[in-house]
């Protein structure tokens, strides 16, 4: 498959159409033939009715759920039927509460539901091509396309993206080697070319798929670096959660923002720790003020945990573990967590030994939020957690761009199709369709097209011809 053409096919596209990080409400727009289907796939109206059952242009209250059925955000959704929409196509817009995380999450759900990331200026381009926008604005639209594509080019030569490109190129090269060998054998059946066996095709494609998988795993790291790691600090009252938080904040003064959300009484602290952006989500109560003392930690903990990628369980090292501590520990089972034993300055009740079962081998760090002793150990542990064990800060390759992530996923899916076709001993001509697609998707990241390259490679690698 040739991918140059793909970008301007009238597929369903989606993107966040409000400026990220600004304003309390963010809007995700899905536009194209399958907009309604994609919208229905991720949005559930509180009424239980389908979006399509409402009159068009009605704002419907409901929630977005992910594939596992867990709730992502409380939102309003609206369906606009083409041509009565911005792009003059079918459009579903989802308004959510503007947190970068839920916007990104809903966006990636929309990709999973069949939309693809919109290109720069693409909504406006479609609006224009569909007759929605005035002729006078045509030039402005072209300027947007041109300047954004220039900007994208500039981004591409930046260090981080440059590294990604060369990594993707490497993986693509591995695929091309397989493709070129099979194509050469197909087009020159009587030349003495050493033909790859099915086993070696499987081996090689598996290896490439692994590489893409690794990049995708790093996409998670990239996402953390881009959006911040969602952390929840939990623990029963008075174990020192707030002093631990204050201790973290003291460590790095680069507080990106601090604001109280208006809708769900959420406080988000954003700061850097050991170079890692942290987004600490919490209910107001986490900062125990003198006039507000929490009575029950468990209920509250449960609620914050759902949003977190890492749970920090704070225990009081100067006292024995209580029933409530164990209840809280139960909550983090099966999640990513770390246990902080605070108040190490007050002498130890040796509670580490009272951790049993799963928690015997849990990551435990003793520190004093008051003196800051042990904080460096925590920071080191956190870096390891984000970058993986043997990676040092800054030398990894992280996929930071949703479009790239999407293309990597598509490529991986095609490779998996190719693998199952090869396992079923399907003939080359079928397997090749999936392999070429897989290489095509990778090429969209690096800006390379497949067809001519394959032919050039055939001639440079093999001595063929009459």
């Amino acid at each position: 498959m040739e991918n140059t053409a793909k970008q301007y096919q009238e597929e369903t596209i989606s993107a966040v159409c409000t400026a990220l990080g600004e304003g309390a409400i963010g809007i995700i727009r899905i536009s194209g033939e399958n907009a309604l289907a994609a919208g229905e796939a991720i949005f559930k109206a509180a009424s239980g009715r389908k979006l399509a059952d409402y009159p068009v242009n009605t704002l419907v209250y409901g929630h977005v759920y992910d594939a596992d059925g867990s709730m992502v955000d409380e939102v309003m959704a609206v369906y606009m039927r083409g041509p009565h929409s911005y792009t003059a196509e079918d459009v579903v817009e989802i308004q959510c509460h503007g947190g970068v995380r839920s916007l990104q999450k809903i966006l990636s759900l929309s990709y999973a539901a069949g939309a693809r990331p919109a290109e720069p200026g693409e909504f406006t381009k479609r609006a224009f091509l569909n007759g929605r926008i005035d002729l006078v604005q045509a030039e402005a639209v072209m300027d947007i396309i041109k300047s954004r594509s220039d900007a994208a080019l500039k981004v591409a030569v930046r260090q981080q993206e440059g590294q990604l490109s060369s990594e993707v190129r490497g993986l693509r090269k591995e695929l091309l080697d397989v493709i070129v060998n099979l194509e050469a054998v197909i087009d020159y059946p009587e030349d003495d070319i050493e033909e790859m066996t099915f086993a070696s095709v499987l081996d090689s494609v598996n290896k490439t798929a692994e590489g893409v998988n690794k990049l995708l795993a790093n996409a998670h790291t990239g996402k953390i670096l881009r959006e911040g790691l969602r952390v929840a600090i939990i623990g029963k009252p008075n174990v020192g959660k707030s002093s631990f938080l204050n201790c973290l904040l003291k460590e790095d003064r680069a507080i990106v923002s601090e604001y109280a959300g208006t809708t769900r009484d959420v406080i988000e602290e954003q700061f850097l720790l050991g170079g890692i952006p942290i987004v600490l989500a919490d209910t107001a109560g986490i900062r125990e003020t003198e006039d507000y003392v929490e009575r029950i930690g468990v209920e509250k903990s449960r609620r914050i945990l759902n949003e977190a990628e890492l749970a920090i369980v704070v225990l009081d090292g100067s006292a024995l573990l209580s029933e409530e501590d164990f209840e809280i520990l139960e909550l983090v089972k099966g999640r990513s967590y770390v246990i902080i034993i605070n108040k190490s300055d007050l002498g130890s009740a040796n509670i580490k030994n009272s951790l049993n079962g799963e928690f015997k081998n849990a990551p435990v760090i003793e520190l004093s939020a008051k003196t800051g002793a042990g904080l460096d150990v925590f920071t080191g542990w956190l870096q390891k957690f984000v970058y993986g064990s043997d990676k040092h800060l800054g030398d990894g390759i992280y996929v930071q761009n949703a479009r790239h992530e999407n293309l990597l996923k598509n490529s991986l899916a095609s490779m998996q199709d190719a693998l199952s076709a090869a396992e079923a001993q399907m003939p080359y001509d079928c397997i090749m369709i999936d392999l070429r697609n897989a290489a095509g998707f990778l090429g969209e990241i690096t800006g390379d097209t497949v067809r001519d390259e394959i032919i050039n490679e055939i001639f440079s690698k093999f001595c063929i011809g009459k």
């Binding site: 053409a5 055939i458 001595c463």
Partner: protein, 627 residues
Amino acid sequence: MYITDNYDVIVVGAGHAGVEAALAAARLGGKTLLATLSMDNIALMPCNPSVGGPAKGHLVREIDALGGEMGIAADKACIQMRLLNTGKGYAVQALRAQEDKPFYHTIMKQTVENQDRLDVKQLMIDKLLVSNGEVVGVEAETGEVFEAKCVILATGTYLRARIVYGQVNYESGPNGLRSANKLSQSLLENGLELMRFKTGTPARIDARSLDYSKMEIQSGDSKLRNFSFISSITERSQVPCWLTYTNEKTHKIIRDNLHLSGMFNGMIEGVGPRYCPSIESKIVRFANKERHQLFIEPEGLRTNEMYVQGMSSSLPADVQLKFMQTIPGLENCRMMRAGYAIDYDCLDPLQLKASLEHKGISGLFSAGQSNGTSGYEEAAAQGLIAGINAMRKINGQEPFILGRSDAYIGVLIDDLVTKGTNEPYRMMTSRAEYRLLLRQDNADLRLTEKGRSIGLVNDERYEKFTAKRTLLERIIHQLSTSNVAPNAETEQKIKNIGTAPVRPGMTLLDILRRGDVTYKKLAAEFALPELPEVVAEQAEIFAKYEGYINKQKQEVERALKLENKLIPQDIDYHAIKELSSEAAEKLAKIKPVSIGQASRISGVSPADINVLMIVLEVKRRREQDNE
């Protein structure tokens, strides 16, 4: 100078492109002249004695389905037929025939001579006559002028052709034929852009001088097959080819004499094809390869000449003989013709429309090696299309253009007129993005209706085709509507076939999808009709490939949206400042007819395409406002 005659269509050159072009034009009712340098060399095969192979065999089938001649002649002159790539999937299977070269020529000569409305003349054409941007005829060296509404150039490798053997070179076409020296000049004077390409051919050796015990025999398939969907040939005696290899001694002689090779001493100016390298380039470029394989192929039944495939060379004749005699089986070989390199002028195909008409000169068409391609099959395919479109132009009809998803012919021509080529272009299956749809087995299903509506498919072919199609439709319907009840009787039948048990709700078609089930086995157990083999095979392919075929069909559908967005030809690309300068330049030169075609031009980015789409919309709205 005097006017001898006037024609609808004049075809210059009677090679594989020329004969198809002339036959198509005459069969579509045009008064046609076929001008050849020699009546004794019509449809000459100056290089390998074979037709077909991957992608090329596909082209032959497509030519045949459209009503062309190559498949019929190749079946008649065939002395060995093989189906290649049998284990690699239906899409890439291809027929390849060894041909009796003199017989092939004789068959084609008879065919063109006997064709109504077609005059075949031995003429050297010196001049193209153009008036006010329209072609009006040609002038021969005799001073005779032939007027025409359309002229098709099918000049092969003859334009300013020069032959090189080592240090020796002289003006000549292949096989001692004259080269056409004045026509190139006339084309340049009319503003055509020419390129210089190179190709070559190996030596021919005497069959009696070979030791066959030292070579490996390569026989034809025992099962008889034909290219043409209407061939009635059911018996064929076949002759073998022979496989042998070069060795270190061979390579040493070549290396020691490299300085004498036309390829390396700077004597050859043309760009040669990478897929057809001379033996000296193979040894230089792939220095680590210990041996190169050679096929020794008969040139016909009534000649002792054997073609040495893999041994193209522009080394001096004595060196060629010396290194050939180091090869097992060839130790005492006698050389009958030395291999040579040839360079020649051809048109830059970017000057052509997809109809193969020149963009600047109305009524001038070009086909075959003169468009920078290589190969008999590629030439014939273009000849057929040029002949069809010349007549359609004369008749005031829209040009006949095959898309990339219709046929290899479509891929070939689109590649030529959109991307151009910097070496003689050879068709390969890997050039076709919808390969699974463009199979050699379904060329008739893809193209016969089109050939019928053009007017080249006669009743005999059409009736044979529709009968086959009806059978196929019927059996697919029957298979897909026959549910298999999971009872004891069925279980026994499934066991007899030797496949896994069936699940409830399965149809016979679902069972046929399985790798281990053939139509024959299925038919025996489930009382299905006995079918001609080709129909049963189509049903099997339909069942087994359906998922992949649908994948490709969806891609085609998406791509067609772009192919259907047409670009007016009067657009001024240089005035669009948002286009990159490279894109503007390429677009202005190639003048793509659609957004789809524009997107395939190298150097035109997705952003350029988006800009172009907006420009088109602006233009459309302005025109609408003016109305």
